[in-house]
């Protein structure tokens, strides 16, 4: 429970920070995205599709996307401590964050990328 609260407050702070940054640097922000997938598992496929859609629609070329299949090389997952698939690791000059799951909540993903249209509202 404590963990959730902590995560919430951290998330809230991150969001606030991002909201300010993205206003100015929307197009300059460089996203380094790595999506860890497990072969052709449905959840992985779904995440890959959602992510690609979002990249095209919102990121306008200011990103690098790498798809890593964990079933091919376990050493990368070991290094990055990726235990679940799919896992998306987002890195920008400002922050690093990780999201686990099929990315079924697009709004959440946009928020994480600092592209939320609803702003501060959850």
């Amino acid at each position: 429970m404590g963990r959730d609260k902590l995560a919430d407050s951290k998330r809230a702070k991150k969001k606030e920070k991002l909201a300010n940054k993205t206003e100015k640097n929307k197009n300059l922000l460089h996203y380094n995205l790595r999506l860890f997938i497990a072969g052709d598992e449905p959840n992985s496929k779904m995440a890959e599709k959602t992510l690609k859609d979002i990249c095209e629609k919102y990121l306008h070329g200011s990103y690098k996307l790498e798809i890593i299949d964990v079933t091919k090389d376990f050493n990368i997952s070991l290094e990055e401590k990726v235990f679940f698939a799919p896992t998306l690791i987002i890195e920008t000059p400002e922050f690093k964050s990780r999201i686990v799951g099929s990315l079924n909540d697009v709004q959440k993903l946009l928020e994480l990328l600092g592209l939320s249209e609803t702003g501060g509202n959850k």
Binding site: F84, R98, V100
Partner: protein, 471 residues
Amino acid sequence: MSGNKRKTLKKTPTYIIGLDEILNGGLPHGRTSLIFGTPGNGKTVMGVEFLYRGAINGEPGIFLGFEETVKTLCENALTMGFDLSYLKKKNLIFLMNGQIEPDVIVSGKFSLKPLLSIISGKAKEIGAKRIVLDALDVVFGLLENPIQVRSELYQLNLWLMKLGLTTLITLKPREGYPGTLFQDYFYSISDCVIHLDVRQLDQVSTRRCRVVKYRGSDFGRNEYPFIITNKGIRLIPITKFDLRHKPFGERISSGIKRLDEMLGGGYQRASCILFAGEPGTGKTILASTFVTQMCKQNERVLYLSFEESPDAITHNVTSVGLNLERFLNSGKLLIYGTMPEATGVEEHLMRLFDKVESFSPQHVIIDAISACERIGGKEAAFDYLMRILNFLKEKGITVVLTNQTSGRKSQLEISGNGISSMVDTVIFITYVHGEKEVNRTIQILKARGSSHSNKIKGFRINDSGIEIYDI
């Protein structure tokens, strides 16, 4: 041991002292076992010891911990003498810290595929035979719903079995699930389930271990107390009474001729003799007389005193002409004084076991068992005595117990702490109040497997020792 005709299950020994005994050989080979308990019950320690002992016995292993860091794990293991870093360097063990960052965000369903890939990759690399998944509840708690928990757990188990790994999962109960649903999933994939808990009883806490399930195998069904020592976990199964007790040996002298006559020739070697009586009746002197007799015959005696210090004992008995000092000096006698309150049952047991192992006495005196209740209540005293007697009887060691009674001649009180089934001979000393004087009498209340006198005799102590006379 149930005489089954079908093929017996292959076991992987844990090499943890006492645990393999109640598991009837070890954990199910190539399958999954579960240790369940609330935090602080010794789950991780048991897991680490399973891997450590496996590795030093030629079975490399993987430790995947979702709570502790590798650094603290190694440090903690070292306090028990388990040098994990060394084994790691030798590629006999692989330690992975699987702590999940608190701000990880979950959105939608996911699988444990990467984790499984890491496990199989590493298992092949070091030739692992064993794996411990410590605090797996942390991982499965992230899954969105019980159905996912069940299916991912099933996948995990299948994967581990395919790799031929003997798996040990440790698990805490998890909130937010109805009843025991969460652990029930883990139970269903586990062939063997062990519960650990810590209980507080009369100010003394005891760790307990219980096997609740073992598919295809018999197991010890009791609760077994254990301790975590600087050499790891130690657990002594307390059942199996009488199974391996040595038969009585020849007659040995009590050191008092008249008493030997009453007993039908003396005490029996490897039997358990109890001296019961009120304070001051001479139980310690009776015991010391026996000690003197045995040491004179060049046999070794361990004297465990709960009441007096070694110095006090040796000094007090000089007044009746007994000189124990010379046997202490010649190494025939070892007096070990300890306060019952000093520690719990387990620690007391271990200390005594260690003394017995290192000194290898032929006879052990415990003076007095009535003090054992101060270890932590009646139950603790019973537990302690039963296990000591069992241990000593297995080794064919003669045991002399003294028990202080309050004066009423109740049979229950005389035999003390409900251990009467383990006691073979009972000698009772009591005061007899005459008109002008108080005398003492001695009688034999019980002597298993031998004929004995039913007469009550006079019992006197003077400066040359004990005297028994007809009345």
